[in-house]
Amino acid sequence: MSNVLALIEVSPDGHVSTTAAMLLGAASRLGTPVAVVAAAPGSSAALGEALGALGAEQVYVAETAEVVTSLLAPQVAALALAFSALDPSAILVANSIDGRELAARVAARLKAGLLIDAVDVRSDGGAVVASHSVFGGAYNVDSAVEGGPVVVTVRQGAIEDRAEARSASVTTVPLDVDAAAFAVIDAIHPLPAASDRPDLRGATTVVSGGRGLQSKEKFVLVEQLADTLGAAVGASRAAVDAGFVPQTSQVGQTGVTVSPQLYIALGISGAIQHRAGMQTAKTIVAINKDADAPIFEIADFGIVGDVFTVVPQLIDAIGKRGSNS
């Protein structure tokens, strides 16, 4: 079986990205999964162990101190080096912000074809086929690359397959980074320590709030319901613009696309651009005081009502069920 490279993003403080398991799972479907990492010198042993546990057969660690000073250059150089060393049949990268950008630069450098935002990948007679969900899930498109190597970015949280844990062989190489054509990182501001809530991408349940929540203080209601259900928190663009939540929570056309089992929209009108990010959810619930809100056109269960009375009652009712069962 040929090698399939999975570029694993590692945070400046050494944390392996949550997309690693998905990428290695996807890579193991297509060939021999090889994790490629650009990391600070001295991190290869820990990375080898962590990524082997997620299914990598080989972990290729390109070490450079520039990971904290040069934007994307180390990851691009690491992939290009691994590509020439390991002759892979495909390169998989997360469709995160860093991921898609470094994938693009690598594709241009290697004269590879680029397939973006795949929600699924498979091997068809040796060729890599990517499936895409286009225009908010209105279309499913399959694509492939002809005439060169293939680089695929995979939507975060889209593929559930996981590879079996193993003890990976670790290859460590020093990385010479030519950072001339890249920006300089002056400072890194990590998000405050992640809450216990699941990641919005890939979450089974998402509770989102819109402008109808009225204020940052009152938006807490969305978080309370989310915590009752073990759900991730999402939002409309209007809620983001109003400062109720950070932009990373935005669901929709210019935000995150989610496809959970259950999506609950609170005080969200359901503009077409919001729907583009959530209408492939299995079950949609909406609470809105306007009976004509377009969100009801796609809701499996809609309540015309005030979120500030219905949601507390819902939380209470769920609590009672929990204690009865």
Partner: protein, 258 residues
């Protein structure tokens, strides 16, 4: 300073957007075509620099004949001139070819700073600025929530899933901006009238020395199949009579969702 803003014509997100089932390409007849909102923000970043500095602002698009409308809009907002790359060979161009064409056009036009949107609303690739940067061998400072331009560098806050970082690049450079970056100005009547007299240069692939067929020497993507998903329909809708929260809990329990 010479600033080139990359603008794209896209189907209006307010309408129903369609793909041609046979080719997988955008069905341009089915919806209104508009300038992508994110590119108005990109242009605003350039124009607000120009408001208080000496700068020339050029809008550049790669697209069919109809794409001249987005250049007119950019000129009406305040761009000084525009470049339109149009060629029948570009029908169905993939990201790689589009980026090669943009890179060649930027080389021909010359620039100090290129400003793009972070992601187009139709293809949602978010990769054109990076591809172009690699082809040109210039620095990229992309996905900026805020931008500061000086005479020899550009800096800003790059937001990612894990937080943000402050980055800078000396010019020449290519940047892309997010929705958080700027609120675009509206073209006023004077701007619309003046736009009619501003120059729009039209280039073909031949003018750029690009042969679309030669893209075969690098990988290119092909669409294998396109299927339309059935539209979603409405389910139950109730009006809260004081017990809707309980009814919803029942619904969720019945579906094993709690």
């Amino acid at each position: 300073m010479k600033i080139v803003v990359l603008v794209k014509q896209v189907p209006d997100t307010w309408g129903e957007r369609k793909l041609n089932i046979d080719t997988g390409w955008l069905d341009r007849t089915s919806s209104d075509a508009v300038i992508d909102e994110i590119n108005e923000r990109a242009l605003e970043v350039a124009l607000s620099y120009q408001d208080s500095n000496d700068a020339e602002v050029i809008a550049l698009t790669v697209g069919p004949a109809s794409a001249k409308d987005v250049l007119r809009k950019a000129l009406a907002m305040g761009a000084d001139s525009a470049i339109h790359i149009v060629d029948d060979q570009l029908a169905g161009a993939d990201l790689i070819l589009t980026a090669r064409v943009i890179a060649a056009a930027l080389t021909k036009a010359d620039f100090d700073l290129v400003i793009a949107g972070n992601e187009a609303t139709d293809g949602r690739g978010g990769v054109i600025p990076s591809l172009v940067a690699e082809y040109l061998g210039v620095r990229q400072a992309t996905y900026l929530d805020s931008v500061t331009i000086t005479s020899d560098s550009v800096s800003g806050e790059r937001g990612t899933e894990n937080g943000s970082m402050s980055v800078h690049a000396t010019l020449p450079a290519i940047i892309s901006v997010t929705e958080q970056s700027a609120e675009p100005r509206f073209p006023n009547f004077k701007g619309i009238m003046r736009a009619k007299k501003k120059p729009v240069v039209v280039w073909s692939l031949g003018d750029l020395g690009i042969d679309a067929a030669s893209s075969a020497d690098s990988g290119h993507s092909v669409v294998l199949s396109t299927r339309q998903r059935p539209a979603r329909t409405a389910g139950t809708k109730i009006v809260d009579d004081g017990t809707a929260g309980v009814a919803l809990a029942d619904f969720l329990a019945a579906g094993h969702l709690i």
